[in-house]
């Protein structure tokens, strides 16, 4: 036995339990049954948006102070954010997950805000005129502008034809300035045109050029809209006392020159009717007497946007519901009165067709000097190419905008569908995809599905272009409310923009709604859950008990350390936005 020596601390054979090693040799990940992945997804709002805008990422950029980048994100899909930020019917807000928590985010105000304050040069990184392909777009409404924009972004040569003196279609000649500032409209259009799109205004198809003249173009996109107002009383619309809402709104000043507030009836319950009423009100310096809107629908059934109807009523416009026109009474070329009856409207759930059913036999009478008819729009069919299929007043096109003629595509109101600006823009985007596939010989079904958002109708153009992203985004996965961990959020009220007082605004064509100021916009941005995208909140880092969520010091990219991750799934629950998913180990 060795002679006992004075105890000396020899680390290879210490005499006491002192240790200097770390625990990194224990690879605690070896028994894991599931492992986490970062998967950015689509939010419910982005899924509902017909244009498929990546709304949460835009919110995220803006909340970090980068308004320009937020605007860039919108512009990746939508060339007209300033427009939508004012007139869109906010399908996004209706599906906003926050709406199930307290109140939906004011996304429309956000879109307006970043559009009004952001500065983006959309020509950056765009290969203008780099590809072989010349396309013609007929009609410069939202659908046409959108198609032209996306085609130009792909690098093609685009020429835009417009019958009216200025570009914009319904945006300029349908929506009144108190809803959409002309200044903003011009600015948005100018931005689109900066991509090298050529334009020909006051150029009407069939009059100034024929379809044969367009044969040098590789493909054509028809987005001429529905320029004819539906007629109510046959044969009498040539008279001076009756005109369509569309014609009125296209140039209200022209039609009101001899106006000394004669009694005007506006027939119809849609946006055109309401817009016509409110425009006329303003031309009359706010005098709402001698102005009545008559429509067969009940207040709730009115196809006009509820917000619009509300504003109209605030402005003192008289709307009479449940009344259908019956007969005109004229004398010596002048209008005397209109007979009308009580009616109710039945909307067929499936087809969407509207049936007006008169109720009772009582006939009422209203004295009138003028009637504006705004009961719908139809196609001006004499301007279309030979052989193109038309049905029920619309060009027949599949969901990608392909018509019966291979080289001809169509979109917007002219092919039917929802008649809102956002849907028109989406339609133009779809047309651009279809045309691109056509010229490049790719299958559009495949391309669409590869970039489809959820299982819906929209797709991501940015994805299609193949722009590199930082984190992988699975466009097929949509985050709905039950996937949001609301324990990480506190309730707060929605911020709404100010509106001009009815008394003030009826005398002017100034925009009624202002945008949110910076303070309230910041507050509203902070309310956004930012569903489905990583916002660097680092809940995953904070909550991982095994220190297995890593952040690269240089790039800031997050990853998992699979040697140690036990697959407990805490990160997937702590990620309030549902970005982390647990996947079974093979």
């Amino acid at each position: 036995m060795a002679k006992p020596q004075r105890p000396v601390l020899n680390m290879k054979d210490p005499f006491v339990a002192v240790s200097f090693y770390d625990s990194l040799i224990f690879k605690t990940g070896s028994q894991r049954t599931e492992r986490p992945f970062f998967i950015n997804k689509v939010a419910s709002c982005g899924h509902a948006c017909p244009i498929g805008i990546d709304i949460p990422t835009a919110f995220y950029m803006a909340s970090k102070g980068d308004i320009d980048q937020a605007l860039t994100i919108f512009l990746q899909e939508n060339p007209l954010p300033g427009i939508c930020g004012r007139v869109c019917y906010q399908a996004c807000e209706m599906e906003c997950n926050r709406g199930n928590f307290d109140e939906a985010i004011n996304i429309r105000s956000f879109e307006r805000f970043i559009s009004d304050h952001g500065q983006v040069d959309i020509r950056k990184n765009v290969p203008i005129h780099s590809r072989k392909g010349k396309f013609a777009v007929i009609g410069s409404g939202p659908a046409g502008l959108s198609a032209a924009y996306h085609l130009a972004r792909l690098g093609y040569y685009v020429t835009l034809f417009e019958a009216k003196p200025e570009l914009g279609g319904m945006l300029r000649y349908g929506i009144p300035p108190y809803r959409l500032s002309r200044f903003i409209l011009d600015r948005e259009i100018e931005r689109i045109l900066s991509l090298g799109i050529r334009t020909h205004v006051e150029t009407t198809m069939g009059r100034d050029f024929g379809w044969k003249d367009l044969e040098s173009f590789d493909a054509i996109f028809i987005s001429i809209g529905l320029q004819s107002g539906k007629v109510l009383f046959e044969g009498e619309n040539a008279e001076g006392f009756i005109l369509t809402g569309l014609d009125f709104l296209a140039d209200p000043q022209k039609f009101s020159l001899e106006d000394e507030a004669p009694k005007t009836l506006i027939i119809g319950g849609g946006n055109v009717a309401i817009d016509a009423a409110r425009t006329l009100l303003r031309l009359r310096q706010g005098r709402g007497d001698n102005l009545i809107v008559l429509c067969p629908e009940s207040r709730d059934q009115m196809p006009a946007l509820a917000e619009e109807v509300k504003e109209a009523l605030e402005e003192g416009i008289t709307i009479v519901n449940g009344r259908a026109p019956h007969k005109l009474h004229t004398k010596n070329g002048k209008l005397l009165s209109l007979d009308f009856r009580r009616a109710k409207v039945k909307i067929d759930e499936e087809s969407g067709t509207v049936k007006i059913i008169p109720l009772g036999k009582v006939i009422q009478k209203l004295k009138a000097d003028r009637i504006i008819v705004a009961i719908g729009q139809t196609l001006q069919s004499h301007n279309l190419p030979d052989g193109i299929e038309i049905r029920q007043g619309r060009i027949v096109a599949d969901r990608f905008g392909r018509t019966s003629i291979p080289r001809i595509f169509a979109g917007g109101d002219v092919i039917g569908g929802k008649a809102f600006v956002a849907d028109a823009i989406a339609s133009g985007k779809m047309g651009a995809l279809a045309i691109s596939c056509f010229i490049e010989g790719r299958d559009i079904e495949t391309q669409f599905q590869a970039n489809q958002i959820g299982n819906g109708q929209s797709f991501s153009f940015q994805h299609f272009i193949g722009a590199p992203g930082e984190n992988s985004v699975d466009l097929r996965k949509v985050v709905f409310f039950d996937q949001i961990n609301t324990l990480f959020f506190s309730e707060s009220p929605r911020n709404n923009p100010d509106k001009l007082e009815p008394g003030t605004r009826i005398k002017t064509f100034e925009e009624i709604t202002s945008g949110l100021d910076v303070g309230r916009m910041e507050e509203e941005m902070s309310r956004c859950f930012e569903c489905g995208i990583c916002t660097d909140c680092e809940n995953c880092l904070d909550f991982c008990p095994d220190i297995s969520v890593l952040r690269d010091a240089k790039s800031g990219v997050y990853s998992f350390h699979h040697d140690y991750c036990k697959g407990c799934g805490i990160c997937s629950v702590a990620c309030a936005r549902n970005v982390i998913e647990m996947v079974r180990e093979k």
């Binding site: 324990l487 904070d542 220190i547 140690y564 407990c568 629950v573």
Partner: protein, 292 residues
């Protein structure tokens, strides 16, 4: 042989520890050590923390740590603190880390003694509400009605309120925290670091096998406890100044209790009684805060 370089710059706990998957206590420990910093010495006593510390010779702590006898968390930490002061070191932080059993039961005497002497230590109690390391036996920190292996019909008496008890000792800082409110917990450790004397932080640490819930739900369980006012987050300074540090969402206690298997035997009547008690306690706490 030497310790590897920093795994994560701000982390003072290495991965590779033996905590159960989904452990709230390991989470809490990680957060406490992040805030404690590198100039700190820790005392750990038998509890789940002992397991997390790991087997010889591999340590999961980046800072020096002593695995002391069970009931000596406070007294061992006090010894270190006095030794450092004897050497003229007033900067190095001494933190005692113990479980609920080691604090409210067997370690209570040493804790009370250290508080009485206002020893210069931060004491963190990781409360998973039972003796979990030895297999889920009841402790005085187990809440009333909870199932454990030694109270299979549910515990008949209530939970010892350590934050109040430590407050009555009039120590500079006594606070409740939750492992699932990371910023709040870290802030409390940082606040405590600014003070001298005895500082006590009670950290609710959800335990999947002991509380009977699916391990990934730890963040929710830890937050529901607070948001239902079952476990309010507050601080007591010098025994008299009360500050509530998180305003809860006022969710019903049922949300919290029904999510855990250890309470699944509760009837509707039981829940009503509990809700009333929770509301009463909350009102009392608010009154105390307003009396500052």
């Amino acid at each position: 042989m030497e310790m590897e370089l920093d795994y994560h710059e701000r982390d003072n706990l290495y991965p590779g520890h033996r905590a159960c998957s989904g452990c709230g206590e390991a989470l809490g420990l990680k957060l406490v050590l992040q805030a404690a910093g590198k100039k700190a010495i820790a005392v750990v006593v038998p509890s789940c923390l002992g397991i997390i510390l790991g087997p010889y010779p591999y340590s999961t702590f980046k800072i020096p740590v002593f695995h002391a006898a069970f009931e000596t968390a406070a007294s061992s930490a006090a010894g270190i603190s006095n030794a450092l002061l004897a050497k003229g070191d007033e900067e190095t932080l001494v933190i005692a880390l113990a479980g609920d059993g080691g604090t409210t039961d067997i370690g209570f005497q040493a804790l009370s003694g250290a508080a009485d002497r206002n020893e210069n230590i931060i004491y963190c109690c990781f409360d998973n509400e039972a003796y979990m390391n030895t297999g889920i036996q009841v402790s005085s920190s187990t809440p009333q009605w909870a199932w454990t292996m030694t109270t299979p019909q549910g515990k008949t008496r209530g939970k010892k309120n350590m934050v109040e008890i430590m407050g009555v000792h009039k120590i500079p800082y006594s606070a409740s925290a939750s492992a699932c409110f990371p910023d709040d917990l870290r802030r409390k450790i940082m606040e405590a670091k600014e003070l001298k004397g005895m500082r006590y932080i009670h950290i609710l640490s959800p335990c999947p096998p002991g509380w009977r819930y699916e391990e990934k739900l730890t963040p929710n369980i830890g937050r529901l406890a607070v948001e239902t006012k079952f476990y309010p987050l507050y601080e007591i300074r010098n025994g008299k100044e009360y500050t509530i540090t998180h305003l809860p969402k006022n969710l019903p206690v049922e949300d919290y209790l029904s999510a855990q298997g250890r309470f699944k035997h509760l009837t509707q009547k039981d829940l009503e009684i509990i809700q009333k008690e929770v509301d009463t306690n909350w009102d009392k706490l608010k009154r105390r805060e307003s009396q500052n």
